[in-house]
């Protein structure tokens, strides 16, 4: 039953990804010209003489003289074989460029998610079980500030005070001295030293949102009759809360996994630029600006793939956790 369900979901992923790839390809190709024309225009604007014959050669080399449909097919065929293409700007395969930054991105994002959960869970539960208390109001207020302040502003403020109070160097995830060093214990400690700033900044909004969502969900569940039943059995309040309403309100966390996976990889672009983090976010933005089409396209495709996988994981987890989804199957018509 469950295996068939998973198979079915995996099969549905194929058309989803195909449509996504077509969309990405179309959108990236929509602006006039391509990377080489942008490059030539930039060089001319800077007064340099562009080697038109070389550009023509490159265009031919990368198949830009072919019709878009053919380029699309080639690109997708490459992706299927794990070839993400070649970045014109960096003159290196896309896989290498992204790979370099992926580790740092994942560290930042993962730490952010853990931070979000650790903070949001207790506060959400407290707010729901102490509805309309001063604690609830106070925490809600702080959460709303976190939600309302723009990330880049928070980033600037934090950078300033981190430097003044803790002497942490501005920008980046490591002290400049470790920048091109291989990973070592000292470098790792330096990363940890810097990590908390982006984690708090990126996590602020998400934490506030999650507190609100958890509070609302839990409040709904606390009204339910089965919670009264559980307490009528004589369960201690904490255990009754954990086993019944909290479990039910978890469903939305799990359906959230689908969004979490891609955000782990993409990194928060704007914050990363302000803090000049060596994550993938700024890379993607730069690639989109310069029409570095294989870098941008393949990276977006990678994110889409992770989204689809994330949704699959959350669907399977939901089916495991909630017997109503597992056993009732398709809705009756």
């Amino acid at each position: 039953m469950l295996i068939r369900y998973i198979l079915k979901r995996i099969l549905i992923m194929i058309p989803t990804l195909l449509v996504t790839s077509a969309l990405i390809f179309t959108v990236i190709n929509l602006p006039e010209g391509d990377y080489f024309e942008t490059l030539a225009a930039e060089m001319q604007a800077q007064g340099e003489k562009a080697d038109m014959s070389r550009i023509e050669f490159l265009k031919k080399e990368y198949g830009f003289d072919r019709p878009p449909v053919e380029r699309y097919v080639r690109w997708v065929a490459g992706l299927l074989q794990g070839d993400m293409g070649y970045s014109f700007e960096y003159q290196r395969p896309v896989r290498e460029i992204v790979g370099d930054r992926l580790l740092l991105t994942m560290i930042v994002s993962f730490a952010t998610i853990v931070f979000t959960w650790i903070v949001a869970f207790p506060i959400g539960i407290y707010s729901a079980t102490h509805q309309y208390s001063w604690g609830d109001y106070g925490l809600t207020f702080i959460g709303l500030i976190g939600l309302a302040v723009p990330h880049f502003l928070l980033a600037l403020v934090f950078m300033y005070f981190a430097n003044i109070w803790f002497g942490t160097s501005i920008g980046g995830l490591v002290d400049p001295q470790y920048l091109n060093q291989p990973m070592s214990w000292a470098k790792f400690r330096s990363v940890l030293e810097h990590l908390w700033i982006p984690v708090i900044i990126i996590g602020a909004g998400g934490t506030a949102g999650m507190i609100r969502a958890l509070r609302a969900n839990l409040l709904d569940e606390l009204q339910k009759q089965y919670y009264v039943t559980a307490r009528a059995k004589g369960l201690p309040p904490g255990k009754a809360l954990r086993k019944y309403p909290l479990r039910m309100s978890l469903n939305f966390f799990i359906s959230d996994i689908g969004d979490i996976l891609p955000s782990i990889v993409s990194g928060a672009e704007v914050v990363a630029i302000v803090l000049s983090l060596q994550t993938t976010g700024p890379l993607l933005i730069r690639a989109l600006q310069s029409q570095d089409m294989y870098l941008a396209g393949s990276f977006l495709m990678f994110l889409s793939f992770l989204t689809v996988i994330g949704v699959l994981i959350s669907d399977i987890a939901l089916a495991l956790l909630d017997p109503r989804i597992r056993l009732q199957g398709a809705p009756t018509k």
């Binding site: 039943t229 201690p236 309040p237 039910m248």
Partner: protein
């Protein structure tokens, strides 16, 4: 207030001791800073092994008292005075004052579930949907009587078997949504009784169940009480249930006890006017032709409006339904292959007529297809086959064949009154908007004309026109239902479908609404299709009654005939299961259908579907009495 325990030394053991004794209990609620007392000095007792019924309307404070006994008052509520003494029968002499125990402390938690069990009205929502039945019962058991799991499972399976699960081993691993309402309530009983409590609090335990299932669950509660010797505090507003279950009765009204005493005194010699009024407001089967229920508060003073002229008796029926068929496909639909699909016949070859000015009752248990029939007539659901002809004397309309504008123009002719007065009115619309909306949709008149019409409608249902700018939440259930009736009347329909219009209302309000519907029918010559599972209510309202089971109409007869000379075994089982508010006609629990009344294996040979469903046909028994049976069966044999 350190401990509520104190020993009553030297007190002689009386024959029956009181498990629970509540004296001068006061409970207050603080909402938006305003304190309000909802229970005002209530005293009652529950003797060991006996059943005490706490009777009252919604809002009378009866559920709050049960919450206080369990220590489960909402945060806004608190006991402000009096005591709730619980006497442990296993250790005579110890008395606990529950009112003084901290609400989440260990003392009350030991009692809760361990010594005092509780079951609730909604078997649907009182079990967790994501834990198995066994898991939830086991939790209650292990909490109060720690033991190895295999042994616990054995006990639980024995208990599940005792409450009527045919296969307790499998039932242990079932989830609540896989069970029917009756089985869920049985599982709740198993959970409440697994620790062998001294007191069971049953808060409207059968209100949400069909009559036949209700009779089974009540029977089960009595049997278990006889076996385990626990006392029952039964909270209900159904006097029929009280007459059949209770040893003692306590009547509560607005947080005060009106009357209490042994059940004999209460029913044979009611003293307090409120109790008398309550008894007069419940419809029963012995009502004379034209007898009127006495509502506690009438919706409006009886108007002097002349009754509408009666149509000619030989006129064509207003609505005639023929061979209606509706099937649903359920089960999981797999991506490849078939999965486990099954076809359910919700409506199976249903035919009936409704004459102009008549009220046709449609009764049956939940899931029998009666609501589906109404939805097909309303064109909210599409039938697979069949015909619905609407004939108002001027033109014949094929209702199921209408499309587009023709359907739109036809819709005002049939309107609907719904069961739930809370969810059938939009909380974001004022009464004016609610009542005007149908007029606006169908472009009836100018703004001023519509507003005048809305005022007239309010007066018709006996509501003050000053309420027009209020929102539904500021009305009581009965008032809301009257708004729903006014909305149905707005477009001057010929036929009104009432889908369980009073089943969500208290007895006293129910009488008010039923009387209002009767008056409106007489004044305007309305035609009703009245759907209900409450036979007494249908008996009061309907001229003819159709009984539905498993998607078929099994018996159709004039009201009086159906109740005095029922023929079909299903109808008989239904009638046998109705609890009367009369001590001389107690339910014979042993006669109630064992496997559920709609299980046709208990029916006689002539009524069984067997292998060939088409072999059954409505057999006329004279005087408009039809029963679904094999045509070759001897009619006299059926009647006997």
């Amino acid at each position: 207030m350190t401990s509520g325990k104190h020993t009553v030394a030297g007190r002689r053991q009386t024959d029956i001791m009181d498990i629970l004794r509540i004296s001068d209990l006061r409970i207050g609620f603080t909402v938006h800073g305003l304190a309000r007392e909802v229970v005002k000095g209530v005293s009652l007792r529950v003797p060991a092994g006996k059943t005490v019924a706490l009777v009252g309307e919604s809002g009378s404070g009866k559920s709050v008292i049960s919450q206080a006994i369990m220590g489960l008052l909402p945060r806004a509520g608190a006991v402000t005075g009096g005591e709730i003494l619980f006497r442990e029968p296993l250790e005579p002499g110890t008395v606990v004052d529950i009112a003084t125990l901290p609400p989440e402390g260990e003392g009350i938690r030991d009692l809760r579930g361990g010594r005092i069990g509780m079951i609730f009205q909604e078997p649907m929502s009182s079990l967790s949907p994501v834990h198995t039945i066994g898991n939830q019962i086991e939790e209650a058991l292990l909490l109060h009587r720690p033991m190895p799991k295999p042994q616990a499972r054995e006990l639980i399976e024995a208990m599940l078997k005792r409450v009527g699960f045919k296969n307790p081993k499998r039932a242990f691993d079932h989830y609540s949504f896989e069970l029917s309402g009756g089985l869920r309530q049985r599982a709740m009983l198993a959970m409440a009784l697994i620790c062998q409590p001294a007191l069971l609090i049953a808060d409207e335990p059968t209100t949400a169940l069909d009559v036949t299932i209700q009779a089974q669950v009540l029977d089960l509660m009595r049997e278990l009480q006889a076996e385990m010797g626990m006392a029952i505090l039964l909270i209900t507003h159904d006097l029929g249930v009280v007459a059949n279950m209770a040893d003692e009765v306590v009547v509560i009204f607005h947080g005060e006890i009106m009357e209490r005493g042994p059940v004999e005194d209460i029913f044979r010699r009611p003293r307090h006017p409120y109790l008398k009024a309550l008894l007069n407001a419940s419809p029963h089967f012995d009502m004379q032709e034209g007898e009127r229920l006495v509502a506690l508060r009438e919706a409006r003073p009886r108007p002097a409006a002349a009754p509408a002229p009666k149509p000619a008796p030989d006129a064509a029926p207003l609505l005639s339904v023929r061979h209606l068929q509706k099937t649903y496909v359920t089960g999981s639909r797999s991506f490849f292959g078939k999965g486990s699909l099954s076809v359910v016949k919700a409506v199976d070859n249903v035919s009936f007529d409704i004459k102009r000015g008549e009220c046709l009752g449609l009764v049956g248990e939940s899931g029998c297809g009666k609501t589906t029939v109404s939805k097909i007539i309303m064109r909210a659901v599409t039938a697979n086959a069949g015909e619905v002809i609407f004939d108002d004397g001027r033109e014949r309309v094929d209702v199921l064949g209408l499309k587009g504008d023709a359907l739109r123009a036809f819709r005002p002719r049939i309107q609907m009154i719904f069961q739930d007065p809370v969810s059938s009115l939009s909380p974001r619309m004022t009464v004016t908007n609610i009542l005007r909306e149908p007029l606006a949709i169908h472009d009836r008149g100018e703004t001023q004309g519509q507003l005048d019409r809305v005022r007239a409608l309010m007066q018709d249902v006996g509501l003050d026109t000053r309420f027009l700018n209020r929102y539904p939440h500021s009305f009581s259930g009965g008032q809301r239902q009257r708004i729903g009736i006014a909305r149905a009347l707005a477009l001057d329909p010929d036929l009104i479908i009432c889908d369980e219009p009073v089943s969500a209302l208290d007895v006293s309000v129910q009488a008010q609404i039923l009387n209002l519907l009767k008056d409106l029918q007489a004044e305007r010559g309305l035609t009703f299709l009245f759907i209900s599972h409450n036979l007494a209510v249908v008996n009061y309202m309907a001229d003819r009654i159709a009984v539905m089971a498993n998607g078929r109409i099994v018996e159709l007869a004039p009201r009086h005939t159906l109740f005095t000379r029922p023929v079909h075994p299903y109808t008989k089982a239904l009638l046998r299961s109705v609890p009367f508010a009369d001590l001389d006609r107690k339910l014979d629990f042993k006669l109630v259908a064992p496997g559920g009344a709609s299980d046709d294996s208990h029916w006689g040979e002539a009524f069984r579907i067997g292998s060939d469903a088409s072999a059954l046909a409505p057999v006329p028994l004279g005087e408009g009495h039809y029963v679904l049976a094999r045509p070759n069966a001897d009619v006299r044999e059926l009647v006997s």
